[in-house]
């Protein structure tokens, strides 16, 4: 009874642990880095896209105010978390400049979401419209950037 049990536990833990070891490896390969960039910019696009839909429908009177406030805040939080992990990653030597570009774009996206959040909870219709336009523009910019940095994938 004892030995098969131990073996079973080992059989479960081994792939898990090796998997963890593989993932937390410090040196990021070039393709691994591209995946990471793709994922993070994808998260930014996702947050901006959601916010765009939310703001548009707020303008149409489709959504309640409390919902809009929470939904935009959720987008902000999701992106902030992604950006934080991305910032702590060390890129391969050839991609340092790329990371700087990406980080700048991500910082801009966060700022845009922040002002969108303020506008959405406020009563100023004009400010909301500006925020929506800004979100739409940033969404486009990030899509272009994602294509450029990841070589067309995603």
């Amino acid at each position: 009874m004892r030995r098969p049990l131990a073996l079973a536990i080992l059989a479960v833990l081994l792939p898990v642990l090796t998997g963890c070891g593989l993932r937390s490896g410090a040196a990021v390969s070039e393709s691994g880095w591209t995946d990471k960039v793709d994922q993070t910019l994808g998260a930014a696009i996702s947050s901006l896209g959601t916010t765009e839909v939310v703001l548009k429908n707020q303008a149409n009177g489709h959504l309640t105010r409390s919902y809009v406030v929470v939904a935009v805040r959720d987008s902000q939080r999701t992106l902030a978390k992604e950006v934080q992990t991305f910032g702590s990653k060390q890129p391969p030597a050839s991609k340092v400049a790329d990371k700087r570009t990406a980080m700048r774009a991500l910082g801009h996206a966060l700022a845009v979401l922040d002002s969108a959040s303020n506008a959405a909870s406020g009563a100023d219709i004009a400010a909301r419209r500006t925020a929506l336009l800004e979100v739409e523009r940033t969404y486009q910019e990030l899509s272009t950037l994602q294509t450029r940095l990841t070589g067309g994938g995603g």
């Binding site: 792939p15 996702s46 489709h62 309640t64 105010r65 919902y67 929470v70 939904a71």
Partner: protein, 409 residues
Amino acid sequence: MKKLLSLALGILTAIGGFVDIGDLVVNAQVGARFDLSMGLVVAVGVLGICVFAEMSGRVAVCSKRPTFDLVRERLGPRMGLLNLVASLIVTALTFVAEIGGVALALALISSVNPLLIVPLVGLMVWLVLWRAKFSLMENVLGLLGLALIVFAVALWKLGPDWGDLGHQMFTAAKPGDETWTTYAYYAVALFGAAMTPYEVFFFSSGGVEEGWEEKDLSTMRANVFVGFPLGGLLSLAIAGCASTLFGPLGVDVASLSQVALPVGVALGKIGLAVVLVGFVAATFGAACETGLSTGYSLGQYFGWQWGKYVKPGGATRFHLVLVVATFLAVGILMTGVDPILVTEASVVGSAVALPLTYFPILVVANDKDYMGEHINGPLANALGTVYLVLVVLAAVAALPLLVITGMGS
């Protein structure tokens, strides 16, 4: 007439109670990323829970013994304990996710920080578990859960290309930018979301709670074979909505607010209000079910009096477990952990723990001593064996896939 009404009520609550936080989140995520290419996985999962629930309901009726009694009896105390620990972890995780889900849904209504709502939800859940009558709890929350049908209306209003959706579903057309490993990971997650072990603890223990007799077998079957598939259609509608709205924008679903968004877009404020009521009912109902399930499984393993069919004073240990479980769940949520993350972990955990309860039920359903004339027929056994292989495969693959894909990112 009265019988017909109670039959309809049973089916309606089965539909409304089918969807829980795991179904909501995972179906929306999968819909946004994979369109409807995993529709068949949902179908397989729903048929699986039908087979499994019908069998455990039948076993509960015939043997008057719920699931965990049989687990210990058939696997012995050691394997049974291992099973208990694994199932408890998964059920508790689901309980945490459901309470978190209620808080998130209430936050969408009130825009109050969910952390402030969590203790209140915990208190409410505990009060219901302590005081409310079992049938009242099931019926009210199940009927309110029907509000989620609004997803089907929203999908129709969003006007997707139905031919496209059908094509994606029946050809399992994986989008080009996703890998097969991520596809497999989400397939396992969907499977785990449809076939959670707690549903079976709850279903079989609930049969004992409500004193099902042999004459109730046909009602039980109707609930399972009509109610669950219709509940499964709701899952598909959620995925379809997410696919239609988010797919073209490249949006990933990472929060409960996003799950509700398609309904708001399609149906406006009223639709949004209805779907939020549905969220609260579905997650609150599932929170009660998972909470009870922690008490059921512990009580049934150790032989304590369990259940709401006796007064709380007659089942004190059971109710103590419920108090402790609720405190624990609220405590975990108060650390600020993201309930969506807990949900994702719980559905994968469900896939891992499923064979542990599935297998003993399948064996007992073939025991002539217990089952008499209601023993598994050839069809039930054929399906049962196919699903035994499937649940074992999913269980073995779940953890490696989780690690390799980094939770599907």
